[in-house]
């Protein structure tokens, strides 16, 4: 059932209060972030329709926004999403090797999820950490100066979290 808790609904109300009256559409991006976090790491049609109802929008207004921004997942993803940067400065510092290593270690291609549903590997474009390359986004933070050892440790960390 796609419904925010009372506490989350209070948060939505608080966000809407940041904008002028009648401009609650401005809350769409933050509320989609909340919804993705709450409802399984991705935005199903049901989730987007729920958000549309909350903000008094037509569903299409939510779909067109959700499909524009790269951080919204429109398909299910693994429990742990590894998003490795591959733009110029990271490439110079060996991001291709890091991506290959993760592919080999998890036995998946970019864009795929492991059969146990634990990991999804994605490549992303510049995340603003060029001086700390190669890097990836994991959850709310960045993992920087990546090495094969750090990848091993991160994957272990994720598996432990899951037990």
């Amino acid at each position: 059932m796609i419904v925010f808790s009372d506490q989350k609904l209070m948060e939505v109300k608080e966000i809407i209060s940041h904008y002028p009256d009648g401009k609650q559409k401005s809350a769409l991006l933050p509320v989609l972030h909340m919804a993705q976090e709450e409802f399984g790491g991705w935005l199903s049609v049901e989730t987007m329709d729920y958000v549309a109802g909350l903000l008094h929008l037509e569903p299409i207004e939510v779909y067109e926004v959700a499909s524009f921004y790269s951080m919204y997942n429109l398909k299910p993803v693994g429990k742990h999403l590894l998003e490795v940067c591959q733009t110029g400065p990271c490439m110079i510092n060996g991001s291709d090797d890091i991506i290959d290593y993760i592919k080999q270690k998890l036995n998946i291609q970019v864009g795929e999820t492991t059969p146990d549903g634990l990991f999804t590997l994605k490549t992303v474009e510049c995340l603003g950490a060029c001086g700390y390359a190669p890097m990836m986004q994991y959850g709310k933070t960045y993992r920087e100066h990546l090495t094969k050892e750090k990848i091993d440790a991160l994957i272990e960390e994720c598996k432990v979290k899951n037990n």
């Binding site: 940041h18 926004v65 733009t87 474009e125 510049c126 603003g128 060029c130 986004q137």
Partner: protein, 449 residues
């Protein structure tokens, strides 16, 4: 040693917190500003010569003076923290380690512009930095620097953060405003400019994080004192984020009188190139500005030492110069392949094109495909001319500057490194195994050991 303004206190333990920040002299500029008239603050910013630090370099005081003041319609300040230009990570550094600096600058700037509700639009991936800013805003509010009737001045101000969700284009100011309204980040046709019709059709000023932070020392010490730092129209200090093949990647505050050579090779800054390798090329101002080969990077076509400032970096125009841009400084050593690097940038711009204008939507994808073809040893000589032709047809033919930003790196790579493209075409198997190397690009220059 460069005089530090923004990063002077960055190493003070606990500077992230309100108490330490205030003890170190924080929020003095708000106390001073609230005794001034808003017009006087705009005047000081004009006097300072401060130019927008996001990339365009437009004079900030002038931008502020454009804001329309229709009766009864609220105005807004929106800070652009959608830092997404490859090579650029300076705003993140400032917000992560000394967040109150931005908040302080925003309160002063909001007062100058008459904005009672101001926003920080921050890229969605900087989620933990948004939390840091929210914490700083809450502290500032608790101490009476935000809210109603600040310091008894009668001025009310609230600041809210808003996270984007992964879209480079939202760093373009009208796309940013669309996104803040909850829409797709499609840039608007100008005019009207945001200063007349911005967010929710209200007069709005959009400024970069570093620009707004610079307002703090300008108010504390006066615009004139600020204008005396630096050289010519490059006044004050500039944050440079340095990356690529250098010993000490990171964020540096420079006054804009130092040479590019000093910046790359001195221990105070990048500390030279690792493993004794030689400099091949550099993109000095973020991925959209033209790449320069080592010789033209260190010395202008006129034979003068190139300096780290707006005028010197653009000396020679696009034929032999580049741009200051956002200060994203990407260094490539002799082992780097310019074709491959340009390919990753073309892929970036294809990914980030909003799709509104066909020259950009179609052209960026086309350039990416051709560059990949050449890079993977399948290129033909005519592809190089085709690539040149496509970038020319994108430049200047789009609503926003993303089209130019995608065209310029490709144009500069062909302009300065055509030999390397031709070598790929002539050596389809060899180019998969080894890089073209330095060739003649750096043979005639003296690079410090």
């Amino acid at each position: 040693m460069t005089k530090k303004l923004l990063l002077e206190k960055i190493d003070v333990p606990g500077i992230k917190t309100y108490d330490v920040y205030r003890r170190e002299g924080g929020y003095r500029s708000v106390e001073k500003a609230l005794t001034m008239k808003p017009e006087e603050i705009v005047e000081e910013v004009k006097k300072s010569g401060l130019r927008g630090r996001g990339g365009a370099g437009f004079p900030t005081g002038l931008k502020w003076s454009f804001i329309a003041k229709p009766e009864g319609i609220p105005r807004h300040l929106v800070v652009n923290a959608d830092e997404s230009e490859p090579g650029t990570f300076k705003d993140r550094y400032l917000m992560e380690f000394i967040p109150h600096y931005l908040i302080e600058g925003m309160i002063v700037s909001s007062f100058a512009l008459g904005s009672n509700v101001s926003y920080i639009y921050i890229r969605g991936e900087y989620a933990w930095i948004t939390d840091i800013l929210d914490q700083a805003i809450a502290e500032a509010k608790q101490q009476g620097w935000l809210g109603k009737n600040i310091l008894g001045s009668g001025f009310d101000c609230e600041i809210y953060t808003q996270r984007g969700a992964g879209a480079y284009i939202c760093g373009e100011e009208t796309a940013l405003l669309e996104s803040l309204e909850g829409n797709r980040g499609n840039p608007r046709i100008k005019p009207p400019f945001p200063a007349v019709k911005g967010v929710w059709q209200r007069p709005t000023v959009v400024n970069n994080v570093e620009t707004i932070a610079a307002v703090v020392p300008i108010i504390n010490d006066g615009g004139e004192a600020y204008s005396k730092i630096g050289i010519g129209k490059s006044t004050g200090t500039k944050l440079i984020s340095a990356c690529g093949n250098i010993n000490k990647p990171g964020v540096y505050e420079i006054d804009m009188t130092i040479s590019v050579e000093e910046f790359i090779y001195s221990e105070e800054y990048c500390g030279g190139i690792p493993h004794g390798k030689r400099l091949k090329a550099c993109i000095p101002g973020g991925s959209s500005v033209p790449i320069l080969p080592a010789n033209l990077l260190l010395t202008t076509a006129k034979g003068e030492k190139r300096l780290m400032n707006y005028e010197s970096l653009s000396d020679g125009g696009f034929a032999t110069g580049s741009m200051m841009g956002s200060g994203g400084f990407i260094v490539l050593d002799e082992d780097q392949c310019v074709v491959r690097h340009t390919y990753t940038l073309a892929r970036f711009y294809r990914h980030e094109s909003c799709g509104q204008c066909s020259p950009c939507r179609e052209g960026t994808g086309w350039m990416e495909k051709i560059l990949k073809k050449i890079e993977s040893g399948n290129g033909e000589m005519k592809d190089i001319d085709l690539l040149w032709d496509i970038q020319r047809k994108i430049e200047g033919n789009t609503i926003c500057p993303l089209g130019d930003a995608a065209a310029w790196p490709v144009a500069a790579a062909i302009r300065h490194f055509r030999d390397e493209f031709e070598w790929h075409v002539n050596n389809p198997e060899l180019c998969l195994q080894q890089n073209y190397g330095l060739a003649h690009y750096a043979d005639d220059i003296q690079v410090p050991a």
